[in-house]
Amino acid sequence: MTWTWFHRLGSPPHAYALAARLTPWFAWTAAALIVAGLYGGLVLAPPDYQQGDDFRIIYVHAPSAWMSLMVYTTMAVSAAVGLIWRMKVAHAVAASCAAIGASFTFAALVTGSLWGERMWGTYWVWDPRLTFELILLFQYMGYMGLRSAFDDVQRADRASAVLAVVGVVNVPIIHYSVIWWNSLHQAPSVMQLGRPTMPAAMLIPLLMMFLGFTLLFLALLLVRMRAEILDRERTATWIREAVTS
């Protein structure tokens, strides 16, 4: 296996140009999937036999919660790559993740709280999944706070990367919390093999939302990564061409 693609991705001008080319594809596919998913979830899907129309919150809650974990994992993996191979582009990716992840963690917490009020009779309960998800929000905020404490971007990259990598332990805890502990939060209804717990009319819009949110994340990440690369490549010659075109 050849590693040329990896080295090419690590080259800032190449990563910058590739990101600029890919962004519109991800963004427009994401927009189409989210619009279709919203229509499917709000209009086509039948009401749940127990939860009525309140279950429709799942179409914004579950994809937001998925984003909170997926974005953190992306941040931790790219931070690790940045630390191990001293790869500037990887650090730029990691730094781009935090604000996106924090905002969707917030969305997951608030939409979950609105859902919980009707189904559990309370906006908040110190249930394992809810508690660890709240901690995840604090982790994102801590990461951003730590970065902003450094004037030098290279030092911010290294220090925040260690924090991101250590904190990744929370991701499997959140994911398995509803299985490990006797949780008030309902068990997973999508991410399990061989046992579909939803009819297709409910499931397909949800899968569209998951894919749409994932592509939206990639589009946002690529735009932010370009900004981060420009901030790191202060003296490189290729920048003139990149910013004047």
Partner: protein, 54 residues
């Protein structure tokens, strides 16, 4: 239409959830684009004041 907006009596929970999530999506798009525009403008300014980069 009204039946749709009423959401089986859950309107006060369903619509704020959708509103917040869509708001966060829009905020993220605006935010990312502003960030890139600012970094590009800064890079252009640096190039203008320093002349040819090394």
């Amino acid at each position: 239409m009204n039946v749709f907006l009423e959401m089986g009596g859950y309107a006060a929970y369903v619509w704020p959830s959708y509103g917040l999530t869509l708001g966060i999506i829009i905020l993220n798009v605006v935010w990312a684009r502003r960030l890139l525009a600012r970094s590009r403008a800064e890079a252009r300014r640096r190039l203008a004041t320093r002349g040819e980069p090394r």
